[in-house]
Subunit: 300 residues, 2 copies
Protein backbone atom coordinates (compact mmCIF):
# COMPACT_ATOMS: atom_id res chain seq x y z
CA UNK A 1 0.00 0.00 0.00
CA UNK A 2 2.05 2.84 -1.35
CA UNK A 3 1.56 6.60 -1.36
CA UNK A 4 0.13 6.88 2.15
CA UNK A 5 1.23 10.07 3.92
CA UNK A 6 4.03 9.53 6.45
CA UNK A 7 2.63 12.07 8.89
CA UNK A 8 -0.92 13.14 9.60
CA UNK A 9 -2.42 15.72 11.92
CA UNK A 10 -5.17 14.66 14.29
CA UNK A 11 -7.50 17.41 15.45
CA UNK A 12 -9.29 16.65 18.69
CA UNK A 13 -12.87 17.90 18.70
CA UNK A 14 -14.17 15.87 21.65
CA UNK A 15 -14.39 18.74 24.16
CA UNK A 16 -16.72 20.49 21.71
CA UNK A 17 -18.32 18.11 19.22
CA UNK A 18 -18.24 15.19 21.63
CA UNK A 19 -19.41 16.96 24.77
CA UNK A 20 -22.20 18.87 23.04
CA UNK A 21 -23.90 15.53 22.51
CA UNK A 22 -23.54 14.40 26.12
CA UNK A 23 -26.72 15.00 28.10
CA UNK A 24 -25.13 14.89 31.56
CA UNK A 25 -23.65 18.28 32.44
CA UNK A 26 -19.99 17.76 33.17
CA UNK A 27 -18.21 19.69 35.94
CA UNK A 28 -15.81 22.36 34.76
CA UNK A 29 -12.93 20.76 36.67
CA UNK A 30 -13.30 17.50 34.78
CA UNK A 31 -13.34 19.30 31.46
CA UNK A 32 -10.19 21.18 32.38
CA UNK A 33 -8.44 18.02 33.52
CA UNK A 34 -9.45 16.26 30.33
CA UNK A 35 -8.23 19.08 28.09
CA UNK A 36 -4.96 19.35 30.01
CA UNK A 37 -4.43 15.63 29.58
CA UNK A 38 -5.23 15.93 25.88
CA UNK A 39 -2.70 18.77 25.66
CA UNK A 40 -0.05 16.46 27.08
CA UNK A 41 -0.80 13.59 24.70
CA UNK A 42 1.06 15.05 21.75
CA UNK A 43 -2.02 16.45 20.02
CA UNK A 44 -1.25 19.72 18.26
CA UNK A 45 -4.84 20.89 17.97
CA UNK A 46 -7.80 20.81 20.36
CA UNK A 47 -11.20 22.34 19.79
CA UNK A 48 -12.00 23.04 23.41
CA UNK A 49 -15.53 24.44 23.37
CA UNK A 50 -18.15 26.39 21.46
CA UNK A 51 -19.25 29.94 22.02
CA UNK A 52 -22.84 29.30 21.06
CA UNK A 53 -25.61 30.68 23.21
CA UNK A 54 -25.99 28.50 26.34
CA UNK A 55 -29.69 28.19 25.54
CA UNK A 56 -28.76 25.97 22.59
CA UNK A 57 -26.02 23.89 24.23
CA UNK A 58 -26.14 24.08 28.04
CA UNK A 59 -23.20 21.64 28.21
CA UNK A 60 -20.90 24.35 26.83
CA UNK A 61 -22.17 27.32 28.85
CA UNK A 62 -18.81 27.35 30.66
CA UNK A 63 -16.94 28.11 27.42
CA UNK A 64 -15.13 31.19 28.74
CA UNK A 65 -14.09 29.43 31.95
CA UNK A 66 -12.80 26.42 30.03
CA UNK A 67 -10.75 28.63 27.74
CA UNK A 68 -9.34 30.68 30.61
CA UNK A 69 -8.59 27.92 33.10
CA UNK A 70 -6.88 25.25 31.03
CA UNK A 71 -3.08 25.12 30.96
CA UNK A 72 -2.05 26.16 27.50
CA UNK A 73 0.97 24.71 25.80
CA UNK A 74 2.81 26.65 23.14
CA UNK A 75 2.81 23.68 20.80
CA UNK A 76 -0.96 23.21 20.88
CA UNK A 77 -3.58 25.25 19.03
CA UNK A 78 -6.69 25.80 21.14
CA UNK A 79 -9.70 26.39 18.93
CA UNK A 80 -13.38 27.03 19.54
CA UNK A 81 -16.54 27.06 17.49
CA UNK A 82 -18.18 30.40 16.94
CA UNK A 83 -21.61 30.82 15.34
CA UNK A 84 -21.77 34.62 15.04
CA UNK A 85 -20.27 37.96 16.09
CA UNK A 86 -21.52 37.66 19.66
CA UNK A 87 -19.77 34.30 19.93
CA UNK A 88 -16.63 35.69 18.35
CA UNK A 89 -16.56 38.50 20.90
CA UNK A 90 -16.59 35.98 23.74
CA UNK A 91 -14.02 33.80 21.97
CA UNK A 92 -11.63 36.72 21.51
CA UNK A 93 -12.13 37.76 25.11
CA UNK A 94 -11.14 34.22 26.10
CA UNK A 95 -8.11 34.45 23.80
CA UNK A 96 -8.88 31.46 21.60
CA UNK A 97 -6.06 30.65 19.11
CA UNK A 98 -8.27 29.68 16.21
CA UNK A 99 -11.91 30.24 15.44
CA UNK A 100 -14.15 27.68 13.75
CA UNK A 101 -17.20 28.56 11.73
CA UNK A 102 -19.73 26.10 10.41
CA UNK A 103 -22.52 25.58 7.94
CA UNK A 104 -24.09 22.78 5.94
CA UNK A 105 -23.82 21.70 2.35
CA UNK A 106 -27.54 20.97 2.27
CA UNK A 107 -30.17 23.69 2.48
CA UNK A 108 -32.54 21.95 4.88
CA UNK A 109 -29.84 20.88 7.35
CA UNK A 110 -28.45 24.40 7.35
CA UNK A 111 -31.95 25.75 7.96
CA UNK A 112 -32.53 23.30 10.82
CA UNK A 113 -29.12 23.70 12.39
CA UNK A 114 -28.46 27.42 11.96
CA UNK A 115 -32.00 28.64 11.37
CA UNK A 116 -30.99 30.42 8.19
CA UNK A 117 -30.83 29.64 4.50
CA UNK A 118 -27.40 28.94 3.03
CA UNK A 119 -27.49 32.30 1.23
CA UNK A 120 -28.29 34.14 4.46
CA UNK A 121 -25.53 32.29 6.33
CA UNK A 122 -22.69 33.52 4.13
CA UNK A 123 -22.73 37.19 5.21
CA UNK A 124 -22.91 36.22 8.90
CA UNK A 125 -19.86 33.99 8.51
CA UNK A 126 -18.02 36.53 6.36
CA UNK A 127 -18.31 39.08 9.15
CA UNK A 128 -16.95 36.56 11.66
CA UNK A 129 -14.06 35.59 9.38
CA UNK A 130 -13.15 39.22 8.68
CA UNK A 131 -13.20 40.19 12.33
CA UNK A 132 -11.30 37.07 13.44
CA UNK A 133 -8.65 37.70 10.80
CA UNK A 134 -8.43 41.37 11.80
CA UNK A 135 -7.80 40.14 15.35
CA UNK A 136 -4.93 37.97 14.12
CA UNK A 137 -6.74 34.65 14.44
CA UNK A 138 -6.76 31.84 11.93
CA UNK A 139 -10.15 30.45 10.92
CA UNK A 140 -11.30 26.91 10.30
CA UNK A 141 -14.49 26.16 8.41
CA UNK A 142 -16.75 23.16 8.88
CA UNK A 143 -19.02 22.01 6.13
CA UNK A 144 -21.65 19.52 7.31
CA UNK A 145 -23.74 16.92 5.46
CA UNK A 146 -21.19 16.60 2.63
CA UNK A 147 -21.91 12.90 2.15
CA UNK A 148 -25.61 12.92 2.97
CA UNK A 149 -28.28 14.93 4.74
CA UNK A 150 -30.79 13.63 7.27
CA UNK A 151 -33.57 15.60 5.52
CA UNK A 152 -32.58 15.53 1.85
CA UNK A 153 -30.62 12.29 1.54
CA UNK A 154 -28.03 12.63 -1.20
CA UNK A 155 -26.23 15.95 -1.54
CA UNK A 156 -24.78 16.70 -4.96
CA UNK A 157 -21.05 17.23 -5.31
CA UNK A 158 -21.83 20.44 -7.20
CA UNK A 159 -23.73 21.76 -4.22
CA UNK A 160 -20.88 20.77 -1.89
CA UNK A 161 -18.29 22.40 -4.14
CA UNK A 162 -20.28 25.58 -4.35
CA UNK A 163 -20.36 25.95 -0.53
CA UNK A 164 -16.65 25.01 -0.28
CA UNK A 165 -15.79 27.63 -2.91
CA UNK A 166 -17.66 30.27 -1.01
CA UNK A 167 -16.07 29.34 2.34
CA UNK A 168 -12.55 29.43 0.92
CA UNK A 169 -13.24 32.72 -0.81
CA UNK A 170 -14.16 34.15 2.62
CA UNK A 171 -10.55 33.60 3.61
CA UNK A 172 -10.70 30.51 5.83
CA UNK A 173 -7.41 28.68 6.40
CA UNK A 174 -8.73 25.14 6.46
CA UNK A 175 -12.00 23.41 5.68
CA UNK A 176 -13.18 20.33 7.54
CA UNK A 177 -15.33 18.07 5.37
CA UNK A 178 -18.03 16.57 7.54
CA UNK A 179 -19.89 13.30 7.27
CA UNK A 180 -22.33 14.59 9.84
CA UNK A 181 -24.65 11.61 9.95
CA UNK A 182 -22.05 8.94 9.26
CA UNK A 183 -23.36 7.73 5.91
CA UNK A 184 -20.23 8.08 3.79
CA UNK A 185 -18.72 4.93 2.32
CA UNK A 186 -15.17 4.53 1.01
CA UNK A 187 -16.12 4.69 -2.67
CA UNK A 188 -18.09 7.88 -2.11
CA UNK A 189 -15.24 9.36 -0.06
CA UNK A 190 -12.85 8.51 -2.87
CA UNK A 191 -15.09 10.12 -5.47
CA UNK A 192 -15.96 13.28 -3.57
CA UNK A 193 -12.40 13.88 -2.38
CA UNK A 194 -10.97 13.24 -5.85
CA UNK A 195 -13.19 16.04 -7.15
CA UNK A 196 -12.20 18.30 -4.26
CA UNK A 197 -8.51 17.71 -4.89
CA UNK A 198 -8.92 19.01 -8.41
CA UNK A 199 -10.04 22.37 -7.09
CA UNK A 200 -8.46 22.74 -3.65
CA UNK A 201 -5.11 21.95 -2.06
CA UNK A 202 -5.66 18.91 0.14
CA UNK A 203 -3.31 20.46 2.70
CA UNK A 204 -6.16 22.86 3.46
CA UNK A 205 -8.78 20.15 3.78
CA UNK A 206 -9.53 17.97 6.80
CA UNK A 207 -11.85 15.00 7.14
CA UNK A 208 -14.45 14.85 9.85
CA UNK A 209 -15.94 11.36 9.91
CA UNK A 210 -18.67 10.00 12.11
CA UNK A 211 -18.79 6.29 12.85
CA UNK A 212 -22.56 5.88 12.96
CA UNK A 213 -22.41 2.97 10.50
CA UNK A 214 -18.93 1.74 11.40
CA UNK A 215 -17.27 3.03 8.25
CA UNK A 216 -15.20 5.89 9.67
CA UNK A 217 -11.87 4.05 9.67
CA UNK A 218 -12.49 2.59 6.22
CA UNK A 219 -13.30 6.10 5.03
CA UNK A 220 -10.12 7.34 6.68
CA UNK A 221 -8.18 4.76 4.70
CA UNK A 222 -9.82 5.91 1.45
CA UNK A 223 -8.88 9.53 2.25
CA UNK A 224 -5.31 8.61 3.22
CA UNK A 225 -4.89 6.84 -0.09
CA UNK A 226 -5.67 10.14 -1.81
CA UNK A 227 -3.02 11.92 0.24
CA UNK A 228 -5.27 13.63 2.78
CA UNK A 229 -3.39 14.35 5.97
CA UNK A 230 -5.73 15.96 8.51
CA UNK A 231 -8.41 14.10 10.43
CA UNK A 232 -10.79 15.12 13.19
CA UNK A 233 -11.59 12.78 16.06
CA UNK A 234 -13.43 12.80 19.36
CA UNK A 235 -11.73 11.30 22.41
CA UNK A 236 -13.11 7.84 23.17
CA UNK A 237 -15.94 8.44 20.70
CA UNK A 238 -17.31 10.95 23.21
CA UNK A 239 -20.75 12.11 22.21
CA UNK A 240 -21.61 8.84 20.55
CA UNK A 241 -22.81 5.83 22.46
CA UNK A 242 -24.12 2.59 21.02
CA UNK A 243 -26.84 2.51 23.64
CA UNK A 244 -28.09 6.08 23.37
CA UNK A 245 -30.66 7.16 20.86
CA UNK A 246 -29.61 9.91 18.48
CA UNK A 247 -25.94 9.49 19.25
CA UNK A 248 -23.76 11.53 16.95
CA UNK A 249 -20.94 9.04 16.75
CA UNK A 250 -17.76 10.97 15.99
CA UNK A 251 -14.94 8.65 15.11
CA UNK A 252 -12.89 8.03 18.25
CA UNK A 253 -9.54 9.81 18.27
CA UNK A 254 -7.95 6.89 20.09
CA UNK A 255 -9.16 4.33 17.52
CA UNK A 256 -7.95 6.61 14.74
CA UNK A 257 -4.54 7.16 16.34
CA UNK A 258 -4.21 3.45 17.03
CA UNK A 259 -4.95 2.44 13.43
CA UNK A 260 -2.66 5.06 11.95
CA UNK A 261 0.16 4.12 14.26
CA UNK A 262 -0.20 0.43 13.37
CA UNK A 263 -0.16 1.40 9.69
CA UNK A 264 3.14 3.18 10.21
CA UNK A 265 1.61 6.62 9.77
CA UNK A 266 2.90 9.06 12.35
CA UNK A 267 0.44 11.16 14.37
CA UNK A 268 2.72 12.35 17.15
CA UNK A 269 0.00 11.34 19.62
CA UNK A 270 0.61 8.99 22.52
CA UNK A 271 -2.29 6.61 22.81
CA UNK A 272 -1.84 5.90 26.53
CA UNK A 273 -2.05 9.60 27.34
CA UNK A 274 -5.21 9.92 25.29
CA UNK A 275 -6.76 7.07 27.20
CA UNK A 276 -6.02 8.79 30.52
CA UNK A 277 -8.02 11.77 29.31
CA UNK A 278 -10.81 9.38 28.35
CA UNK A 279 -10.75 7.81 31.78
CA UNK A 280 -11.13 11.25 33.35
CA UNK A 281 -14.42 11.78 31.55
CA UNK A 282 -15.54 8.19 32.05
CA UNK A 283 -15.05 8.60 35.79
CA UNK A 284 -17.35 11.63 35.78
CA UNK A 285 -19.99 10.25 33.42
CA UNK A 286 -19.90 6.88 35.17
CA UNK A 287 -20.49 5.14 31.85
CA UNK A 288 -18.15 3.58 29.32
CA UNK A 289 -17.04 5.61 26.34
CA UNK A 290 -17.81 3.73 23.13
CA UNK A 291 -14.38 3.52 21.47
CA UNK A 292 -12.64 0.20 21.01
CA UNK A 293 -9.45 1.44 22.65
CA UNK A 294 -11.33 2.61 25.74
CA UNK A 295 -13.06 -0.78 25.84
CA UNK A 296 -9.70 -2.56 25.70
CA UNK A 297 -8.34 -0.26 28.41
CA UNK A 298 -11.26 -1.16 30.70
CA UNK A 299 -10.39 -4.85 30.32
CA UNK A 300 -6.83 -4.36 31.52
Amino acid sequence: MNNLPQDVVIKEVGPRDGLQNEKTLIDLDYKIDMINQLSNSGLSYIEITSFVHPKWIPQLQDAVDVAKKIDRRDDVTYAALVPNMKGLERALEADIDEVSIFMSASESHNQNNINKSIADTYPVLQEVVDEAKASGKSVRGYISTVFGCPYEGDVSVDQVMSVCDRLFSMGIDELSIGDTIGVANPVQVHNVLSTMKERFDENHLALHFHDTRGMALANTLAALQLGFKTFDGSLGGLGGCPYAKGASGNVATDDLVHMLSKMGVNTGVQLDELLKAGQTIESFLDKPLPSKQMELARRM
Copy 2:
Protein backbone atom coordinates in the same frame (compact mmCIF):
# COMPACT_ATOMS: atom_id res chain seq x y z
CA MET B 1 -11.61 3.62 -6.64
CA ASN B 2 -11.23 1.17 -9.45
CA ASN B 3 -10.66 -2.56 -9.54
CA LEU B 4 -13.04 -3.45 -6.72
CA PRO B 5 -14.83 -6.74 -7.31
CA GLN B 6 -18.42 -6.35 -8.52
CA ASP B 7 -19.68 -9.30 -6.52
CA VAL B 8 -18.54 -10.75 -3.23
CA VAL B 9 -19.63 -13.74 -1.20
CA ILE B 10 -20.49 -13.26 2.46
CA LYS B 11 -20.17 -16.32 4.65
CA GLU B 12 -22.21 -16.18 7.83
CA VAL B 13 -20.42 -17.71 10.79
CA GLY B 14 -22.55 -16.23 13.58
CA PRO B 15 -24.40 -19.44 14.53
CA ARG B 16 -20.98 -21.02 15.19
CA ASP B 17 -18.23 -18.46 15.78
CA GLY B 18 -20.63 -15.91 17.23
CA LEU B 19 -22.68 -18.18 19.45
CA GLN B 20 -19.68 -20.08 20.83
CA ASN B 21 -18.69 -16.83 22.54
CA GLU B 22 -22.13 -16.19 24.05
CA LYS B 23 -22.29 -17.33 27.65
CA THR B 24 -26.08 -17.55 27.88
CA LEU B 25 -27.26 -20.90 26.52
CA ILE B 26 -29.70 -20.19 23.72
CA ASP B 27 -32.80 -22.31 23.17
CA LEU B 28 -32.68 -24.59 20.15
CA ASP B 29 -35.87 -23.02 18.75
CA TYR B 30 -34.31 -19.59 18.65
CA LYS B 31 -31.22 -20.91 16.89
CA ILE B 32 -33.38 -22.64 14.31
CA ASP B 33 -35.48 -19.52 13.75
CA MET B 34 -32.34 -17.44 13.40
CA ILE B 35 -30.74 -19.80 10.89
CA ASN B 36 -33.96 -20.06 8.88
CA GLN B 37 -34.15 -16.29 8.75
CA LEU B 38 -30.49 -16.14 7.70
CA SER B 39 -31.27 -18.69 4.98
CA ASN B 40 -33.96 -16.38 3.64
CA SER B 41 -31.76 -13.29 3.59
CA GLY B 42 -29.94 -14.16 0.40
CA LEU B 43 -26.85 -15.57 2.09
CA SER B 44 -25.40 -18.47 0.15
CA TYR B 45 -23.35 -19.92 3.00
CA ILE B 46 -24.04 -20.39 6.71
CA GLU B 47 -21.79 -22.12 9.21
CA ILE B 48 -24.51 -23.37 11.49
CA THR B 49 -22.68 -25.03 14.37
CA SER B 50 -19.60 -26.91 15.51
CA PHE B 51 -19.26 -30.61 16.23
CA VAL B 52 -16.77 -30.12 19.03
CA HIS B 53 -17.22 -32.01 22.27
CA PRO B 54 -19.97 -30.31 24.35
CA LYS B 55 -17.53 -30.21 27.26
CA TRP B 56 -15.57 -27.54 25.38
CA ILE B 57 -18.47 -25.50 24.03
CA PRO B 58 -21.74 -26.21 25.85
CA GLN B 59 -23.50 -23.60 23.70
CA LEU B 60 -23.15 -25.87 20.68
CA GLN B 61 -24.06 -29.19 22.29
CA ASP B 62 -27.25 -29.19 20.20
CA ALA B 63 -25.24 -29.34 16.96
CA VAL B 64 -27.01 -32.42 15.57
CA ASP B 65 -30.45 -31.04 16.39
CA VAL B 66 -29.64 -27.71 14.80
CA ALA B 67 -28.42 -29.40 11.64
CA LYS B 68 -31.43 -31.70 11.43
CA LYS B 69 -34.20 -29.26 12.31
CA ILE B 70 -33.43 -26.20 10.23
CA ASP B 71 -35.19 -25.74 6.89
CA ARG B 72 -32.56 -26.19 4.23
CA ARG B 73 -32.65 -24.27 1.01
CA ASP B 74 -31.02 -25.67 -2.10
CA ASP B 75 -29.21 -22.40 -2.77
CA VAL B 76 -27.54 -22.27 0.64
CA THR B 77 -24.50 -24.24 1.78
CA TYR B 78 -24.81 -25.34 5.41
CA ALA B 79 -21.40 -25.87 6.95
CA ALA B 80 -20.14 -26.87 10.36
CA LEU B 81 -16.84 -26.88 12.17
CA VAL B 82 -15.28 -30.24 12.89
CA PRO B 83 -12.20 -30.73 15.09
CA ASN B 84 -11.56 -34.44 14.56
CA MET B 85 -12.92 -37.76 13.27
CA LYS B 86 -15.47 -38.05 16.05
CA GLY B 87 -16.82 -34.63 15.12
CA LEU B 88 -16.81 -35.53 11.45
CA GLU B 89 -18.85 -38.65 12.19
CA ARG B 90 -21.54 -36.56 13.87
CA ALA B 91 -21.38 -33.95 11.10
CA LEU B 92 -21.87 -36.57 8.39
CA GLU B 93 -24.69 -38.14 10.34
CA ALA B 94 -26.33 -34.70 10.45
CA ASP B 95 -25.74 -34.36 6.69
CA ILE B 96 -23.71 -31.18 6.76
CA ASP B 97 -22.95 -29.79 3.26
CA GLU B 98 -19.44 -28.60 3.97
CA VAL B 99 -16.97 -29.35 6.72
CA SER B 100 -14.65 -26.77 8.27
CA ILE B 101 -11.35 -27.61 9.87
CA PHE B 102 -9.21 -25.21 11.84
CA MET B 103 -5.73 -24.61 13.18
CA SER B 104 -3.49 -21.69 14.03
CA ALA B 105 -0.55 -20.09 12.27
CA SER B 106 1.23 -19.67 15.61
CA GLU B 107 2.51 -22.60 17.62
CA SER B 108 1.39 -21.43 21.05
CA HIS B 109 -2.13 -20.50 19.98
CA ASN B 110 -2.50 -23.85 18.27
CA GLN B 111 -1.26 -25.55 21.42
CA ASN B 112 -3.66 -23.59 23.62
CA ASN B 113 -6.64 -23.92 21.30
CA ILE B 114 -6.26 -27.47 20.01
CA ASN B 115 -3.96 -28.90 22.66
CA LYS B 116 -1.53 -30.12 20.04
CA SER B 117 1.56 -28.83 18.30
CA ILE B 118 1.16 -27.65 14.72
CA ALA B 119 3.07 -30.71 13.51
CA ASP B 120 0.76 -33.05 15.44
CA THR B 121 -2.34 -31.25 14.14
CA TYR B 122 -1.66 -31.91 10.46
CA PRO B 123 -2.28 -35.69 10.49
CA VAL B 124 -5.51 -35.26 12.49
CA LEU B 125 -6.80 -32.75 9.96
CA GLN B 126 -5.59 -34.80 7.00
CA GLU B 127 -7.68 -37.72 8.18
CA VAL B 128 -10.74 -35.48 8.51
CA VAL B 129 -10.20 -33.96 5.06
CA ASP B 130 -9.70 -37.36 3.43
CA GLU B 131 -12.80 -38.84 5.02
CA ALA B 132 -14.93 -35.75 4.32
CA LYS B 133 -13.83 -35.79 0.70
CA ALA B 134 -14.49 -39.51 0.45
CA SER B 135 -18.01 -38.74 1.71
CA GLY B 136 -18.47 -36.19 -1.06
CA LYS B 137 -18.19 -33.14 1.14
CA SER B 138 -16.23 -30.01 0.38
CA VAL B 139 -13.84 -28.77 3.05
CA ARG B 140 -13.06 -25.30 4.26
CA GLY B 141 -9.94 -24.56 6.29
CA TYR B 142 -9.53 -21.85 8.90
CA ILE B 143 -6.14 -20.52 9.78
CA SER B 144 -6.12 -18.47 12.97
CA THR B 145 -3.72 -15.81 14.31
CA VAL B 146 -2.49 -14.88 10.82
CA PHE B 147 -2.04 -11.23 11.74
CA GLY B 148 -0.99 -11.67 15.34
CA CYS B 149 -1.10 -14.11 18.22
CA PRO B 150 -2.22 -13.41 21.79
CA TYR B 151 0.78 -15.33 23.12
CA GLU B 152 3.52 -14.66 20.57
CA GLY B 153 2.61 -11.26 19.17
CA ASP B 154 3.79 -10.99 15.58
CA VAL B 155 3.51 -14.07 13.38
CA SER B 156 5.86 -14.20 10.42
CA VAL B 157 4.45 -14.37 6.92
CA ASP B 158 6.74 -17.34 6.28
CA GLN B 159 5.15 -19.22 9.14
CA VAL B 160 1.67 -18.34 7.86
CA MET B 161 2.55 -19.41 4.34
CA SER B 162 3.94 -22.70 5.54
CA VAL B 163 0.67 -23.58 7.31
CA CYS B 164 -1.38 -22.40 4.31
CA ASP B 165 0.70 -24.55 1.99
CA ARG B 166 0.15 -27.55 4.13
CA LEU B 167 -3.59 -26.99 4.43
CA PHE B 168 -4.02 -26.58 0.67
CA SER B 169 -1.92 -29.64 0.03
CA MET B 170 -4.34 -31.59 2.22
CA GLY B 171 -6.99 -30.90 -0.39
CA ILE B 172 -9.12 -28.18 1.19
CA ASP B 173 -11.33 -26.18 -1.19
CA GLU B 174 -11.05 -22.80 0.49
CA LEU B 175 -8.98 -21.25 3.23
CA SER B 176 -10.29 -18.58 5.55
CA ILE B 177 -7.56 -16.23 6.74
CA GLY B 178 -8.30 -15.28 10.34
CA ASP B 179 -7.45 -12.16 12.28
CA THR B 180 -8.43 -14.00 15.42
CA ILE B 181 -7.67 -11.28 17.93
CA GLY B 182 -8.53 -8.32 15.73
CA VAL B 183 -5.08 -6.77 15.47
CA ALA B 184 -4.68 -6.56 11.70
CA ASN B 185 -4.37 -3.12 10.14
CA PRO B 186 -4.96 -2.26 6.49
CA VAL B 187 -1.27 -1.97 5.59
CA GLN B 188 -0.55 -5.36 7.12
CA VAL B 189 -3.57 -6.86 5.37
CA HIS B 190 -2.33 -5.43 2.09
CA ASN B 191 1.16 -6.84 2.63
CA VAL B 192 0.16 -10.30 3.83
CA LEU B 193 -2.52 -10.75 1.17
CA SER B 194 -0.22 -9.52 -1.59
CA THR B 195 2.21 -12.28 -0.64
CA MET B 196 -0.59 -14.84 -0.48
CA LYS B 197 -1.85 -13.87 -3.91
CA GLU B 198 1.54 -14.69 -5.36
CA ARG B 199 1.20 -18.28 -4.24
CA PHE B 200 -2.54 -19.00 -4.09
CA ASP B 201 -5.57 -18.16 -6.18
CA GLU B 202 -7.50 -15.51 -4.26
CA ASN B 203 -10.72 -17.20 -5.34
CA HIS B 204 -9.85 -19.91 -2.84
CA LEU B 205 -9.10 -17.51 -0.01
CA ALA B 206 -11.58 -15.84 2.35
CA LEU B 207 -11.02 -13.14 4.94
CA HIS B 208 -12.17 -13.59 8.49
CA PHE B 209 -11.81 -10.30 10.32
CA HIS B 210 -12.53 -9.49 13.92
CA ASP B 211 -13.44 -5.94 14.87
CA THR B 212 -11.78 -5.85 18.30
CA ARG B 213 -9.94 -2.64 17.42
CA GLY B 214 -12.49 -1.26 14.98
CA MET B 215 -10.41 -1.94 11.88
CA ALA B 216 -12.41 -4.80 10.33
CA LEU B 217 -14.15 -2.70 7.67
CA ALA B 218 -10.95 -0.82 6.81
CA ASN B 219 -9.24 -4.20 6.48
CA THR B 220 -12.09 -5.38 4.29
CA LEU B 221 -11.50 -2.40 2.03
CA ALA B 222 -7.78 -3.23 1.82
CA ALA B 223 -8.62 -6.82 0.85
CA LEU B 224 -11.25 -5.76 -1.71
CA GLN B 225 -8.70 -3.51 -3.35
CA LEU B 226 -6.53 -6.59 -3.92
CA GLY B 227 -9.43 -8.41 -5.54
CA PHE B 228 -10.45 -10.65 -2.64
CA LYS B 229 -14.07 -11.65 -2.91
CA THR B 230 -15.05 -13.77 0.08
CA PHE B 231 -15.62 -12.43 3.59
CA ASP B 232 -16.81 -14.02 6.81
CA GLY B 233 -19.14 -12.18 9.17
CA SER B 234 -21.15 -12.82 12.29
CA LEU B 235 -24.75 -11.63 12.43
CA GLY B 236 -25.05 -8.45 14.48
CA GLY B 237 -21.50 -8.91 15.73
CA LEU B 238 -22.82 -11.86 17.72
CA GLY B 239 -20.21 -13.14 20.12
CA GLY B 240 -18.62 -9.76 20.58
CA CYS B 241 -20.00 -7.14 22.90
CA PRO B 242 -18.36 -3.86 23.85
CA TYR B 243 -19.37 -4.36 27.45
CA ALA B 244 -18.25 -7.94 27.92
CA LYS B 245 -14.75 -8.88 28.89
CA GLY B 246 -12.92 -11.17 26.49
CA ALA B 247 -15.37 -10.58 23.69
CA SER B 248 -14.24 -12.07 20.43
CA GLY B 249 -15.65 -9.37 18.21
CA ASN B 250 -16.30 -10.92 14.80
CA VAL B 251 -17.06 -8.26 12.24
CA ALA B 252 -20.83 -7.92 11.97
CA THR B 253 -22.29 -9.39 8.80
CA ASP B 254 -24.90 -6.63 8.66
CA ASP B 255 -22.28 -3.85 8.89
CA LEU B 256 -20.24 -5.61 6.22
CA VAL B 257 -23.21 -6.09 3.89
CA HIS B 258 -24.28 -2.49 4.45
CA MET B 259 -20.87 -1.06 3.58
CA LEU B 260 -20.44 -3.25 0.50
CA SER B 261 -23.88 -2.41 -0.76
CA LYS B 262 -23.24 1.33 -0.35
CA MET B 263 -19.96 0.88 -2.21
CA GLY B 264 -21.84 -0.66 -5.11
CA VAL B 265 -20.42 -4.13 -4.45
CA ASN B 266 -23.09 -6.78 -4.74
CA THR B 267 -23.51 -9.35 -1.95
CA GLY B 268 -26.94 -10.73 -2.81
CA VAL B 269 -27.89 -10.30 0.85
CA GLN B 270 -30.90 -8.32 2.00
CA LEU B 271 -29.99 -6.26 5.00
CA ASP B 272 -33.50 -6.04 6.44
CA GLU B 273 -33.81 -9.82 6.46
CA LEU B 274 -30.47 -10.13 8.24
CA LEU B 275 -31.66 -7.71 10.88
CA LYS B 276 -34.77 -9.81 11.52
CA ALA B 277 -32.51 -12.75 12.30
CA GLY B 278 -30.54 -10.49 14.64
CA GLN B 279 -33.72 -9.42 16.39
CA THR B 280 -34.62 -13.05 16.97
CA ILE B 281 -31.44 -13.61 18.94
CA GLU B 282 -31.63 -10.23 20.66
CA SER B 283 -35.09 -11.10 21.90
CA PHE B 284 -33.75 -14.28 23.49
CA LEU B 285 -30.55 -12.82 24.90
CA ASP B 286 -32.40 -9.72 26.09
CA LYS B 287 -29.36 -7.61 25.32
CA PRO B 288 -28.39 -5.53 22.33
CA LEU B 289 -26.16 -7.01 19.68
CA PRO B 290 -23.13 -4.77 19.13
CA SER B 291 -23.33 -4.05 15.40
CA LYS B 292 -24.02 -0.55 14.12
CA GLN B 293 -26.88 -1.75 11.92
CA MET B 294 -28.59 -3.48 14.83
CA GLU B 295 -28.14 -0.31 16.87
CA LEU B 296 -29.75 1.76 14.11
CA ALA B 297 -32.57 -0.78 13.85
CA ARG B 298 -33.27 -0.46 17.58
CA ARG B 299 -33.65 3.29 17.18
CA MET B 300 -36.34 2.96 14.52
